[in-house]
């Protein structure tokens, strides 16, 4: 459809030209009211009254925000002067309440990203914690170090470091998470998928298609059902929470580092796609992967130390 366009005659043109000539000179308007004038239409007044009734009925004080969950970002959550680690040690996140889990975990990754000393201690601590080191992985697009693990309480904290390879690979996750960019950045695209990839339930056949070299042949045409719905640039300080069902891409620039706090596994597999090739394959948790694949992606102590050194050079820790 085309937008509405009003047809004007020649005489209108002259008036337009005159008024524009008078106004385009950058003159400042004369009157300057001091305070924010709110809408005063009968409708706006009725709404304002209705708000007040709602607040009184809910027994809320006049100073309390009206719609806390829809409103501005909350004040930092209350801490009793303890460190982020102390806080993490007693934290349980219920990811079935996605909004609340997001609020809590974004706060944690913000605090940690701003606390270089604690972040450094966590990164160095991995060297002495074989259980964490064993979970660190190297992938084509990113390496990650597991800094803290209490998945029984809904918390696993990772530090993501981009590799030299940068591709636009739409994917989802087996878990929901919050992420905060520490340095670098990426183009972040959130996709709409027409239909549900997981509608058929468990799919044992998917286990055969675990790499871009061996994509799932049943996925023919599926990528055409993907439409980019949001495109944005994530910069240092950017922070968001993503549900496990969301399909997105993070097209990184070199030396991008982010803090990533994930929740428990909510499905057995996740999907990853190559848009250029029109192909799709699956990712499973470590426990469900063949030994060869596990060995392939294990980071190991030497690589961990190299990456740690790189983090120091980047000024992240």
């Amino acid at each position: 459809m085309s937008p509405t366009r009003d047809v004007v005659g020649t005489s209108d043109l002259d008036i337009f030209a005159d008024t524009l000539a008078g106004g385009a000179g950058g003159r400042r308007p004369a009157d300057r009211p001091d305070r924010l004038p709110v809408a005063t239409s009968p409708l706006a007044l009725r709404i304002r009254r209705a708000y007040e009734e709602t607040r009184i009925a809910a027994g809320r004080g006049a100073r309390e925000p009206l719609a806390a969950r829809g409103g501005p970002l909350p004040e930092p959550l209350p801490y009793q002067g303890e460190t982020v680690i102390d806080y993490l040690d007693q934290l349980t996140v219920d990811w079935s309440d996605f909004e609340r889990a997001g609020e809590i975990t974004r706060d944690v990754v913000h605090r940690l990203a701003d606390d270089k000393e604690t972040l450094r201690a966590l990164v160095y601590g991995v060297e002495d914690k074989p259980e964490l080191l064993a979970m660190c992985e190297r992938h084509q697009l990113l390496d990650y170090i597991v800094l803290y693990d209490a998945l029984d309480r809904g918390v696993r904290l990772r530090l993501h470091i981009s590799t030299e390879d940068h591709f636009d690979r739409p994917h989802d996750h087996r878990f929901s998470f919050s992420s905060r960019i520490v340095t670098g950045g990426y183009t972040h695209t959130w996709y709409h998928m027409d239909g549900d990839l997981y509608a058929g339930g468990p799919d044992p056949q998917a286990r055969q298609y675990l790499s871009r070299h061996n994509p799932d042949p049943r996925a023919e045409g599926l990528l055409d059902r993907l439409t980019p719905h949001i495109v944005r640039r994530e910069e240092p300080g950017s922070c968001y929470t993503l549900h496990h069902s969301a399909i997105h891409t993070t097209f990184t620039t070199p030396d991008t580092v982010s803090l990533f706090l994930r929740g428990p596994v909510e499905k057995d597999r996740s999907v990853i796609m190559d848009k250029a090739e029109g192909t799709l394959w699956w990712r499973f948790g470590r426990e469900n992967e063949p030994e060869q694949r596990r060995e392939q992606k294990a980071m190991g102590l030497d690589a961990y130390r190299q990456i740690r050194e790189r983090l120091e050079k980047l000024g992240v820790i």
Binding site: V8, F16, P37
Partner: protein
Amino acid sequence: MTIETADRVHVNNTVVELFESVGPIDWDDLPAAAELTQRLIREFAADKALFRRLLLAVEHDPYLWAKCEEDLVEDKIVLWDDVDKGLRIRLRMSTDHQQQLAHNHRFSFTNLVLRGTYLHRNYVARNGFDENTLPDDVQPQMLHEDRAGECFTIHHNALHSTPFTELGTISLVLRGNPVKDRAPVMFKEARGRDEALRRLQDGPDAGRGELSEIEPDTAEVGTMFWRVGEDRESDERRAERRMTKEKYHYWCRRLEELGII
């Protein structure tokens, strides 16, 4: 006799070098549109002399002035509108508390936050978004903290909410042409709950039936209505929403105080 549309008069009388080199924007290619329009909107916001020139000219341009609105919870000032290129720039300023309203749009657009911060929710409605959609069918998939300086480009079919409940939150919007007549909106939070309940009890209606094309002043969770373009609004409704000169002058001054222009 020359026949010219009002938007061409507006564009031809207001030369903006930044937009001269830009061709029609292909909003169907969202990644490409994002790259182009995010650059344009950032350059526009950074060029305070240009920003100021266009803002102060609005009240003298009947075409733009007619599009400026005082809405229920926010004000809009349209700064530029080139229909041929699919490039309209407007300011969006929060004036009152806002509920979480899940909605999509009649057009795709790019948004730059100039001031304030808010939680941007992106939703999925698994079985589509229409008058039969229930509140629980609409679930958030991404919760993004949008801060001053951040920019996003959104497809007209994307479901989201950007409740500016922090008064004084200001965004700059660069939008394309409309591709549909109206777009649905759903209340994810109640507005004036008691009044809405009373109204339901007074006249209970079975199901939603035909949705209103006017934003309701009270609403339960799940209430839906259509957001429409100005051409579908009655004269009375347009008059109710028209921006006053006093309000516009207030914003000119405020934007200057804030260092935005």
